[in-house]
Amino acid sequence: MRRAALIAVPYAWLLALFLVPFAIVFKMSLSDIAIAIPPYTPTLKDGLAEMIRAFDFENYVFLTEDDLYWKAYLSSLKIAAIATVLTLLVGYPMAYGMARAPEEWRPTLMMLVILPFWTSFLIRVYAWIGILSTEGFLNQFLLWTGLISAPLTILNTAAAVYIGIVYTYLPFMILPIYAALDRMDGSLIEAAEDLGCSRLSAFWLVTFPLSRGGVIAGCLLVFIPALGEFVIPSLLGGSGTLMIGKVLFEEFFNNRDWPVASAVAVILLLILIIPIVLFQLNQQKQAEADR
């Protein structure tokens, strides 16, 4: 009896506030827009058969016809992919350095990586506005060193979005890679070097392949949230950097076209299924390797 209650309470909560809302989004994506509040034709009251007859894929057809949407999907995929590679390039050397640091430093280094994660996401993105703007700190610094003679435009470009993503998601990249490197047996490197491997080739032939699980986990942990990112492109990107999270938000709040916004959401989720499944498979493989 108690066991049933223990299962039922969280189960019912998630059904009501996760699964049902999602079913509503799916239903909404098949409805028609109406000039009303709420702005769609409510189809549930008129009976199920009527409702299903009224369903059509016209919102999805609309998405393929208007190039704003597929351009936004493609540009989100591109931005998320490039940002993931950049985060890996910054994060891997840091995780590697942490794994080689003296034992007694490691908890402190770990804490330094985790601390920004607990700090408000919004504030960390906001901090970059003052740095990257035309009269911002970066331009002041570069002008002072004489490297440039006129201020650069970085804010409101794709470059600012990349910096924002790398900065905010860096801990997600470092932690799994560090965990993988930390588990590694140091004597393997010594063996490789004893057998005549140079340090660089020992890294490529031994260390990097052994940290691959961590690299894959880190990349997906950055790529998946970056794809639907809304705050970073809105604050740091300009009108030229299209990202689907921003399009969805604006479609919903500014254009008030709820059925189209729902269709945008359903397709975004379909795109995300692939990296999410890859992530699950990678985690399972890691767990089996540990056993």
Binding site: R2, R3, L6, I7, V9, P10, W13, L14, L17, F18, P21, F22, I24, V25, M28, V90, P93, M94, Y96, G97, A99, R100, A101, P102, P107, M111, L112, V113, L115, W118, T119, S120, F121, L122, I123, R124, Y126, A127, G130, I131, S133, E135, G136, F137, Q140, Y167, L170, M184, I189, P225, G228, E229, F230, L248, F252, W258, A265, L268, L269, I276
Partner: protein, 272 residues
């Protein structure tokens, strides 16, 4: 592997500089006397004063704090139950769906979670305000709590619970007297995580809230869209300060606890 090469030192230094300089600039310039945020005009704490007199910010902070405390507490209870069911519950009808619903919100884009909850609240005619933000935050943060707690549940020795049951404890007593004290650190960190996620959330709160309730991130958002302001710098510095103190004291406390446990184990080993 404790040979730091020059490459390691450089990459760690640059990496941590990249992580910390932006926040440092924010804190330093919150003490700037000038309204122009990027020009230094002398030390002043006036923006902190302005902030404390700004009723809108104080109201928003109060709403945020209430939402965070309530939602993280409910989320901790529900998340711990969910973790216990998943790890110890054995098979039951719809278990796959249940674990799917626990993991899916972790990877769901915030805009989709927010949109779907808003459509639900409108569909059932619930007035949007503090209550709906609490419901929304509880839903996604209980999943994080459940992941944290279930990893702890998986790693501890089940025979302790079985011993308690064999010695005549009811399942509830066994949970209360044996399981709960062992998983307590994970439950506490789950609560802290849920609390922080709730304090931090902008996107889901924007969807779930109505005109009657504005959270601090929503307030920050609407003023940040107009550009950098010294008041926001002051507010950010306060939040950064609180988080730093919190994280450092939590890690010192856990270090202290693990040292004490070590000493106790050694003492116990000596006496036997």
């Amino acid at each position: 592997m404790t040979r730091l090469s020059r490459f390691n030192v450089v990459s760690l230094t640059l990496g941590f500089a990249f992580l910390y300089i932006p926040m440092l600039i924010l804190v330093i310039y919150s003490f700037n006397a000038s309204k122009l945020v990027t020009v230094w005009a002398g030390f002043s704490t006036k923006w902190y004063g302005e902030l404390l007199r700004n009723e809108q910010f104080l109201d928003a902070a109060w709403v945020t704090l209430r939402v965070a405390v309530i939602s993280s507490t409910i989320a901790t209870v529900l998340g711990t139950m969910a973790a216990y069911v998943l790890v110890r519950g054995g098979r039951f009808f719809g278990r796959t769906l249940f674990s799917g619903m626990i993991y899916a919100p972790l990877v769901m884009p915030e805009v989709i979670t927010g949109l779907s909850l808003l459509l639900l609240f409108i569909g059932i005619g619930l007035d949007r305000g503090v209550l709906t933000i609490v419901l929304a935050h509880t839903t996604f943060s209980m999943c994080y709590v459940s992941v944290v707690v279930s990893s702890r549940l998986m790693s501890f020795d089940r025979s302790l619970e079985e011993a308690a049951l064999d010695l005549g404890a009811s399942p509830f007593d066994a949970f209360r007297l044996v399981t709960l004290p062992i998983i307590a650190p994970a439950v506490i960190s789950g609560w802290l995580l849920a609390f922080t996620l709730s304090l931090d959330d902008l996107v889901i709160a924007s969807f779930a809230s109505g005109p009657s309730a504005t959270t601090l991130p929503m307030k920050i958002w609407s003023s940040v869209r107009l550009g950098v302001s010294p008041e926001i710098n002051a507010l950010s510095s306060i939040l950064i300060g609180l988080v730093t103190v919190g994280v450092i004291s939590a890690s010192l406390a856990s270090k202290h606890a693990s040292l004490r446990r070590q000493q106790e184990t050694q003492a116990a080993a000596r006496t036997t």
